[in-house]
Each structure stands twice: as C-alpha cells, then as structure tokens.
C-alpha cells in the first residue's frame, strides 16, 4: 500500500515533524479532512527472532516483525536457535516470517541483550543502567564503547555480559 488514511493526528504537532504526511478532503465525507500517511520502505531490516529453520523461515515474537520484513528490501535476522523442523508447519510460540522475505539468518543467542527477548530472557537492568550513565557524556560513552564494543567480538561481548548477573 502506498499510503493509508488515519483518524486523529490533525491538530497535533506531529504534522510539523512529518511534511510527507498529507491532508486531503475525505472523498466519502465531503467537508471533512483526513490525514494520509505514506508507507515506510526500509532498505534494510535487522530483526532479532526466536528461531529459523533450514529453509530460512523465521519464528518471530510479533506480527509486526513480519510486516517489517515484508516492507524491507534486505532482511537480516539474528536468531536464538536454528531448528531441524519446518517452522511453517509448526509455527507455535510466535509469528512466522516466510523464507521469501528473509535474506540472511545469523545464529546469535542472547543477541537482544541488554534488551529482552520474552519469554526467553528479560531486560538486563544493571547493564542498561550502566549504558544510560555512559550516555550522559561523550567521554563516558567512548569508555563504554571501548569496554564492550570496539575491538571485541560478539563472543567476547557475550562472555563479558553473561558473567555479570542480571
């Protein structure tokens, strides 16, 4: 869909932030205005999900994960595990993103950290607290990046954060 209409919004400050949202006269209700919101067309989607199977079907937490995948040109999915069975035949526990909408699958357990992947793991409050404190100044943020990100592999990162209790 190139765009969809939306109720509300007119009179809110959002319209100043979104010059691409248009107001037109509702063709079915002459004298009434309605907002049109254009489609978002990402070049890339980066999605973290529960599982992928050998064909590339993905089991994701929400229906909106599928929508994001369908809307995007290139879709990269990191998953907690890769399974032997066909997810399209057994989609229990989530929503399936069919393989035609997936370009790359990466096995990456705990990749949502410090965020949550319910019900597998919750938010890491301690680490988030550390991040929020680091985000208060460029120097502190650089320190955070050097400690956890720059020059470290994913495996090293996971070792560092899993060593600390949530």
């Amino acid at each position: 869909m190139p765009f969809i209409p939306s109720r509300g919004v007119i009179g809110a400050d959002f319209l100043d932030l979104h010059p691409d949202w248009k107001i037109i006269e509702d063709p079915y209700s002459p004298g009434e205005d309605i907002v049109l919101v254009p489609a978002t067309k990402p070049d890339f989607a980066l999605i973290h999900a529960y599982k992928a199977d050998k064909t590339g079907n993905v089991l994701a937490p929400g229906y909106d994960d599928r929508m994001v995948a369908q809307a995007s040109d290139k879709v990269i999915v990191t998953v907690e595990e890769i399974v032997d069975y066909d997810l399209a035949e057994d989609p229990r526990g989530g929503y399936v993103i069919p393989w035609p909408f997936v370009n790359t699958v990466v096995l990456s357990p705990n990749a949502a950290h410090p965020g949550a992947m319910e019900p597998v793991y919750d938010v890491d409050q301690n680490h988030l607290g550390e991040y929020i404190a680091a985000a208060k100044s460029p120097e502190a943020y650089k320190e955070y990046l050097n400690k956890y990100v720059i020059g470290h592999t994913e495996a090293e990162y996971q070792e560092m954060v899993l060593a600390v209790s949530r």
């Binding site: 939306s6 109720r7 509300g8 919004v9 007119i10 009179g11 809110a12 400050d13 959002f14 932030l17 509702d26 209700s29 004298g31 009434e32 205005d33 309605i34």
Partner: protein, 247 residues
C-alpha cells in the same frame, strides 16, 4: 491544605467519583498504569453498570475482562468505546495532552513514552476522562511543549469524541467543548479553591459555589476493599501494597 481523611484514601474517593461516569451496557476501557481508573470502572460494574463491558489495555486476564485489551483500539475506531482515560506528562487549559517531549522537541529535556494510540483514542472515544494523581503547575501548564493530541478540533475534522472531565488528587473539572476550556466542578475534602488555582498553570472558570466532591459511601468502600481490591491486586500489586485502598 491537601486532601486528608482517615476514613478513605484519595484513590478510593476518585474511584467512587469515576464510577459515576460509567454507563451501563457500554464498552469502557483503561490504559496501562491506571489502577485508580480501573478501580472506578470495576466499582461501577459491581454497582450501577453490571452489563458494562470492560477492556483493559495490557491485559489478557479473563477475570478482568472477557475481551483482550488488544481489541480496545478497534472497538474505539468503530465508535463503540464509550469511556476511556488519558493523562499526560503535561496538559493545558485547552485539553491538549503532551506525551512526547518536554522542552525543545529536537533537543528535549525529557523524552516521554509517546502517544501510545492516544492520537486516535482522543478523537474516536465518545468520552475521555483526563486523569492525573499529581495536580501541580509542572503538569497543568498554560501551553504544552508539544501537542501529542489536541483537546478539540475544528469542524472539518471527524471527531465524535473528546475530553469531558478532568479528575485529579485535588479536584474535578468539567471540560466545556464550546469554550475549549475547563470549569471547576468540585474540590476534594480539605482542598480549597485557592489551592487548585495555585496548582494550575492555566485559567479555568470557577462558579460562585464550588461544592465538595461526594464522599464514597460505605457500600462503595466495602466493594472497593473486597471484590475490586482482589482484582486490582493481580494487575497492580504495587498499588495495593502501598496502601491504595483503605480499611
């Protein structure tokens, strides 16, 4: 001086007042983080509105509602949501709500959670009760920093619903659409009109006689402290533990 009572809590007073706004045989909803509105809605279900259908956003608990809270938005879009509750980090005298940013939008002092569907709900719900447990000039400002959703709309906009009332820990105000402003309806026990004026950053109408908000009856308190408290303690255990209900 602020509200005080040994006989009931402020939450119980407000829940009892809220329950009077619930109409029987309608759909009524509450959002996240709303133990007092939820209490008021449940109290109405046990008293004057037994056939009201409650939808609680964020809940799939069948003891609370026969419908998942996810259905709230579609019910509202169909024009069937009769009553809902909204509040903002800031609210102004024209009913505008700010749930977006405090300060300059591009370099905010505070980034707030966002509209969460209030953009549509404020327009399509028949009646919205604005609700805050904190009545201070910091919340009730002359003009919000960012209009997440406006209090009124001009006639070219399809808007069947909107704000009808404001309930806080100090008072109850009516929202008058034609005047695009509030009128003081009642002050809670122990609260003076002056105190409301001092704590409100916008102008509002004050009638010559401002009564006290009705006290909760013994029957209402009994129901709140038993059946309602039981249901609330599942959804909002912290509220119950911190003494939200008296008795």
């Amino acid at each position: 001086m602020p509200f005080t009572s040994d006989d009931f809590t402020i939450g119980e007073l407000m829940a009892a007042r809220i329950s009077k706004e619930v109409r029987d045989e309608t759909y009524v909803g509450t959002g996240a983080a709303s133990p007092v509105p939820m209490s008021g809605v449940l109290l109405a279900q046990y008293t004057t509105a037994p056939d009201m259908i409650y939808v609680a956003i964020g809940s799939d608990d069948p003891a609370l509602s026969p419908i998942s809270g996810k259905e709230t938005f579609d019910i509202a879009q169909r024009g069937k949501l009769d009553l809902f509750f909204l509040g903002g980090a800031q609210m102004d005298g024209h009913g505008n709500i700010n749930l977006t940013t405090i300060g300059d939008h591009d370099r905010p002092d505070v980034r707030l959670p966002g509209a969460a569907g209030s953009g549509m709900l404020y327009f399509m719900t028949q009646r919205i009760i604005l609700f805050r447990m904190e009545h201070t000039p910091r919340v009730f400002v002359e003009d919000v920093d960012f209009i997440t959703t406006p209090g009124t709309s001009d006639e070219r906009v399809h808007r069947p619903g909107g704000p009808t009332m404001l309930i806080t820990n100090l008072c109850v105000m009516k929202f008058l659409k034609e005047r695009k402003g509030f009128e003081l309806e009642s002050v809670h026990p122990g609260v003076s009109v002056e105190e409301v004026v001092e704590n409100t950053g916008f102008k509002f109408d004050i009638p010559s006689d401002v009564p006290e908000t009705a006290l909760p009856t013994d029957e209402e308190l009994t129901i709140l402290r038993s059946s309602v408290k039981e249901k609330i303690s599942v959804a909002y255990p912290g509220f119950v533990e911190s003494g939200g209900f008296g008795g």
